[in-house]
Symmetry: C2
DNA sequence: CCTGTAACATAGCGGTCGCTATGTGCCGAT
DNA sequence: ATCGGCACATAGCGACCGCTATGTTACAGG
C-alpha cells in the first residue's frame, strides 16, 4: 500500500497537468492534491513549499520532455539537418489541437516565473541551455560529415534554431491554428536549407 | 484638480508597469493604485473589474507599443527588407538590460492569459494579427518594388518574421544576455537575405 | 446659488491561498 | 514483540485578494 515513489510521481504528474493548463501561480496546491488523490499533508511531506514542486517540475519533467521531443529523435538520422526538418514535421503532426493551444510547457513556465524567482530562472535556463548544447552537438556532427556549411557558427545557429522551435509554439498558441504551424514549418525548413550543403530539398512534394 | 483622463491614464500606466514586471495575476489592484497615487475606489470607477484593466492594456497600451516599435519605423525606408534588418538592430541597441530580462510585454501577457480567458485571447490575438498584417503589407510593397523574391508567400513570411521577433525576445529573456540577442540578429538577417533579391549585404561590417 | 451627477475615497466582507501544527497508522529494524 | 520513524491525513490560521456598499467632494448646467 505504501508507495512513496508512486505518490510523489502522482503529485508531480498532476502538478504538471495543472501548471501546464493554468500556469504555476494560478494553480493551487488543493487542486493538485485533489487530482492526485492525496491530501495536502502528503504534498508538503514531499515538497517543502509549492515553489519546490515547480523546481522539481523543471528538473525532472520538463527536462525529460525536452530531450524526448527535440533531441533523442535526432539520433535516428544520418544527416542531422534533414533529421531536424523531418522531426519538426512529425512533431507538428503528432501534436494535438489542445497542446497546440497550450503552447510549450517549458516556455510557458519560463515566461511566467523566470523574471520573478531566480531559482526558477536558473533551473529553466539550465534546461534551455542543454537544449541548445545538444542541438549544437548535432550541428557540429553535421558539419563534420559534410552536411552543413562549415562557415556558419554552430553555437549561434543552435540558439537560433531553438528560438524558432519555441517561438513557433508561442505564436501558434496565440493564433491557434494548424495552418499557422505550417507557415512556421516552411520558414524553419527554408532556413535549414540555407545552411545545408546538400541540395536535396528536404520536404518538397513528390 | 479633477482630471479624469489623467487619472485613468495613471492607472493604465502603473498597471502596465506592474503587469509587465510581475505578470497580470500576480499583480494586485492595491499595488497598482498605490503606484498610481489613487485609491481602489477610483480604480473600480474606471474599470468594472481587474480583468477589464487587462483588456484596456491590450487594446490601448500594447497595440500602440507594437506599432511604435515594429511597424511605424519601417515607413522611413525605401527598401522594407533592409528596413526590417536595420530596425531590428536599432531596437536591439535601444533596449535596456532590464527590458531584455523582462521580455516582450505582449508575449508575456499572451502566454499568461490567452489559454485561460477567451476575452484576453481575442484581444491579444487581435494585436498579433495586426502586427502580422502590417508586416505583410510591407512585404508586398517590397515585392512590388522588386526588393523581394516574388515567389515567396508574403503572408506566411510575415507570420514567420513576427514569430522570430517575438521568439528572440523570449529566448533572450530566458538566457539573459545581449550576446544571445546578437545570435538572433544574425539569424534574422540571414533569413531576410535569403528572401531578398538585392545582393547588398544589409548588415556587414564596413 | 442650487443641485445633480461624475469623480473619487473608505471600510469591510467573503473567499481562497500557502503553509503549519498536530495527529495517526503502517512497517521495517532490533 | 516492540518501537521509532516515515508516510501520510486533518484542521485551521493568518494573510491577502477582488470586489462592493456606502460615503464625500468637486464642478458643470440651470
Amino acid at each position: 500500500m505504501r508507495d512513496p515513489e508512486r505518490t510523489r510521481g502522482r503529485i508531480l504528474s498532476a502538478g504538471f497537468d495543472y501548471v501546464y493548463r493554468q500556469g504555476f501561480r494560478a494553480t493551487s496546491v488543493s487542486e493538485i492534491v485533489a487530482a492526485a488523490g492525496v491530501t495536502e499533508g502528503a504534498f508538503f511531506h514531499y515538497f517543502p513549499s509549492k515553489n519546490d514542486l515547480g523546481y522539481a517540475l523543471a528538473d525532472e519533467v520538463l527536462r525529460e520532455m525536452m530531450l524526448d521531443r527535440w533531441i533523442r529523435p535526432l539520433a535516428a538520422y544520418g544527416n542531422p539537418i534533414k533529421g531536424m526538418t523531418v522531426r519538426y514535421r512529425k512533431l507538428m503532426e503528432a501534436t494535438t489541437d489542445e497542446e497546440l493551444s497550450l503552447g510549450c510547457p517549458l516556455n510557458n513556465l519560463t515566461q511566467e516565473m523566470s523574471s520573478v524567482d531566480p531559482v526558477f530562472s536558473d533551473k529553466l535556463r539550465g534546461v534551455l541551455l542543454e537544449w541548445i548544447k545538444e542541438t549544437e552537438r548535432y550541428l557540429k556532427k553535421a558539419q563534420a560529415d559534410g552536411y552543413m556549411n562549415p562557415e556558419v557558427d554552430p553555437r549561434r545557429t543552435a540558439e537560433f534554431l531553438v528560438m524558432m522551435e519555441e517561438g513557433s509554439a508561442a505564436i501558434v498558441k496565440s493564433l491557434g491554428g494548424r495552418k499557422t504551424y505550417l507557415s512556421m514549418y516552411e520558414g524553419f525548413r527554408s532556413y535549414l536549407d540555407s545552411i545545408s550543403t546538400r541540395r536535396e530539398k528536404t520536404g518538397s512534394r513528390p
